[in-house]
C-alpha cells in the first residue's frame, strides 16, 4: 500500500479490511513507519519510535489472522501511547530527563490490553514534561508542533498523541487527562478525545500528575474508533484501587442509536465567557445540529463551572507537588524552568487549603449530579481558544491578558473535578484553519451515551474528513 492510502483510514475501516484479508498489517505498519520517517523531523510527535517491535507485532498479527485467529478490530492496527504509559522493554520517560533511561519490566494494564487485542505499538508519543501543561514545549525532547499550523501548540499534555493521530502516524493513541490533557489536544488537532468516567480505565503503570484528577483514555480519529479503544482498555485491575468494580459499560454497542429524544443542556453562563468568537460561533452551530437530529435543547445555568480551573490548580497541583517532592528537592535541575517553579510554589498550599478545595469540589460534584437529573448531556466549547503559537504564554481576551493554560483548561477541568465522562469532537475550523472542538459531557458512567452523541454529530458533518496540511 502507498503512504497516502493512510489518509482515509480509521480503526473501524482498517479492522474490517484486515479481517477480510484485503489489508495487510505488515503493509499498514510499513506505511505508518514511512510516514513517521517523513513527519517526525517536522512535527516531533514521538519520543521513541518502536519500529522493530512494530514490525515484529505486525508480522505476528498477519500470521495469526491468516491462521483464522482474528482478535478484534485492533488486531494488526498501529497505535501509539503517550510516553507515560509503562511499556515492557520500551523506554518510558513521562517527558522527563529523570526517566530518560527508564525501561519498565511490565506493561500498564491499558497498554497490556491493547497488546492483547493485537494492536501494533508504533511508538511512545511526545508530551508536556510530566503531563503538567498544555503546550507540549518539552525542554528535553523538543517541541511538538500542531499539524494544522506549524509553530503552533498541539495542545497538551497529550500533544504528541494528537499530532500523531491527526497525521495517521498510528490510528489512535492513549493519552491521560488531568485538567483536559486528552480533550484539549483533540480540540486543537481536530480529533475525538474521550476522558472516561473516573476509575473506568486503570491507571496503574501510568505516571501520575494527580491521583484524584488523572484519567486514562483514547485519542482517535472518530467517535467509533474512540469507542473501540475504550471498550478494549476499560475494566478493573486489582493494582489500581481507584478502579470501579464490575463490568464496564460498552461504548461501541449502540453507538449508532442517535440523539433523538435526548435532553441536551446548553449552558447560559461561564462556558461561553472569554470565548474566541469563531469558537463560540462554531459550537453554537453544532448545538443547533443536535436539535435538527432530534435532541431537545434545554438552557441550563451552572455557575459552579467557574471553579473548575481553581480546583485543578489547587488539588491537582498540590498532588503533583507531593508526587514530585523528593526529585524536586534532590534533582531540581532536572526539571524544566517553568515546571520547577510551579511545583515549588504548589508545595506551599497548606493542608487546610487542600481540604477547603476538596470541599468546594464536593459542592461542584453535587451541582453537576443534580444538573444531570434534569438533562442527559451538556454541550459546550471544549476550550475557548484555538491552538496558539508556541512561546505565547498569554493571549488577549476582551483587552485583558489571560494565560493560555488557564483558558485552555478552564472548561475541561470541571469533568476532572467531578469524575464524569467528557469527549471533544471536531465541530469546525477558524478562518486560520485551526480546528475547534465541541465538548459532550455526561453523568457518571454515561460514556456510551457521550460517544453515541459525538458519533451522531460527527456523522452529520464532514469535519473529521479534513486532512491537516502537515500530511
Amino acid at each position: 500500500m502507498r503512504e497516502e492510502d493512510l489518509d482515509r483510514m480509521t480503526i473501524a475501516g482498517a479492522g474490517r479490511a484486515i479481517r477480510a484479508g484485503t489489508l495487510s498489517p505488515v503493509a499498514l505498519t510499513e506505511a505508518t513507519l514511512a510516514r513517521i520517517g517523513r513527519l517526525q523531523p517536522r512535527l516531533n510527535a514521538f519520543i521513541t519510535v518502536t519500529a522493530d517491535l512494530a514490525r515484529q507485532q505486525a508480522r505476528e498479527a498477519e500470521a495469526e489472522i491468516a491462521a483464522g485467529r482474528w482478535r478484534g478490530p485492533l488486531h494488526g492496527v498501529p497505535i501509539s501511547l503517550k510516553d507515560l504509559y509503562c511499556t515492557r522493554g520500551v523506554r518510558t520517560t513521562a517527558g522527563s530527563t529523570i526517566l530518560a533511561d527508564y525501561v519498565p519490566d511490565f506493561d500498564a494494564p491499558a497498554a497490556a490490553r491493547l497488546r492483547q487485542a493485537g494492536a501494533v505499538l508504533i511508538g511512545k508519543a511526545n508530551m508536556h514534561e510530566w503531563a503538567c501543561g498544555v503546550t507540549n514545549d518539552n525542554p528535553f525532547f523538543g517541541r511538538c508542533h500542531n499539524p494544522w499550523k506549524h509553530g503552533h501548540i498541539p495542545g497538551g499534555s497529550s500533544g504528541g498523541s494528537a499530532a500523531a493521530v491527526a497525521t495517521r502516524q498510528g490510528l489512535a493513541s492513549l493519552g491521560s487527562d488531568t485538567g483536559g490533557s486528552i480533550r484539549i489536544p483533540a480540540h486543537m488537532c481536530g480529533l475525538v478525545g474521550h476522558k472516561p468516567t473516573y476509575g473506568l480505565v486503570p491507571r496503574f503503570g501510568v505516571f501520575p500528575e494527580s491521583w484524584s484528577f488523572d484519567h486514562a483514555g483514547p485519542i482517535a480519529l472518530t467517535a467509533e474508533d474512540a469507542a473501540i479503544v475504550l471498550d478494549t482498555i476499560a475494566g478493573p485491575d486489582p493494582r489500581d484501587p481507584s478502579c470501579l468494580t464490575g463490568r464496564p459499560p460498552r461504548a461501541l454497542r449502540g453507538i449508532r442509536r442517535g440523539v433523538r429524544g435526548l435532553k441536551v443542556g446548553v449552558p447560559t453562563d461561564v462556558y461561553f465567557d472569554d470565548c474566541h468568537p469563531e469558537v463560540a460561533a462554531a459550537v453554537r452551530l453544532a448545538i443547533e445540529v443536535f436539535a435538527r437530529l432530534g435532541a431537545e435543547l434545554v438552557e441550563v445555568s451552572i455557575p459552579e463551572a467557574r471553579h473548575g480551573l481553581d480546583l485543578c490548580l489547587v488539588v491537582a497541583w498540590a498532588e503533583a507537588a507531593h508526587f514530585h517532592r523528593r526529585w524536586l528537592q534532590e534533582r531540581p535541575g532536572d526539571y524544566g524552568p517553568d515546571l520547577v517553579d510551579h511545583l515549588a510554589s504548589a508545595s506551599a498550599y497548606t493542608a487546610v487549603d487542600y481540604l477547603q478545595a476538596q470541599q468546594v469540589r464536593a459542592r461542584v460534584r453535587l451541582a453537576y449530579r443534580r444538573l444531570f437529573e434534569r438533562i442527559d448531556l451538556l454541550l459546550s466549547p471544549t476550550a475557548p481558544l484555538p491552538a496558539t503559537p508556541h512561546g505565547a504564554e498569554e493571549v488577549v481576551v476582551d483587552g485583558r491578558p489571560a494565560s493560555v493554560l488557564g483558558l485552555a483548561a478552564g472548561l475541561t477541568a470541571i469533568a476532572n473535578a467531578t469524575g464524569e465522562p467528557a469527549c471533544s469532537v471536531p465541530c469546525g475550523f477558524t478562518t486560520d484553519g485551526l480546528p475547534i472542538g465541541l465538548m459532550v459531557h455526561g453523568p457518571i458512567l454515561s460514556d456510551p451515551l457521550v460517544l453515541r452523541a459525538a458519533h451522531a454529530y460527527e456523522r452529520s458533518q464532514q469535519w473529521h474528513d479534513r486532512r491537516p496540511p502537515a500530511v
Binding site: 528537592q329 498550599y349 487549603d353
Partner: protein, 63 residues
C-alpha cells in the same frame, strides 16, 4: 497562607529554600507571582460556603 494579608519576597525565598532551589532575583520574582496567584485563588475557594459538605467529601463516590 489564606490567613495572611501580606506576601513578601521572603515567602518566595522560603519556598525556594524548602525546595532546594537556587534562588536568584528572577526566580524569586516568578515564585512570588505564583504565590500571590495561589493566594488569590485560595481566597476564592474560602469565599465558598461549604457547610454541610464534609460528609459528602468523606463518603464513597456514587457509582
Amino acid at each position: 497562607m489564606a490567613d495572611e494579608t501580606i506576601l513578601s519576597r521572603d515567602a518566595a525565598l522560603a519556598v525556594a529554600h524548602w525546595a532546594g532551589l537556587p534562588c536568584d532575583a528572577a526566580r524569586a520574582a516568578r515564585l512570588q507571582a505564583l504565590l500571590v496567584a495561589q493566594k488569590v485563588r485560595m481566597a476564592r475557594m474560602y469565599a465558598e460556603d461549604v457547610t454541610g459538605l464534609e460528609f459528602d467529601f468523606l463518603a464513597p463516590r456514587e457509582r
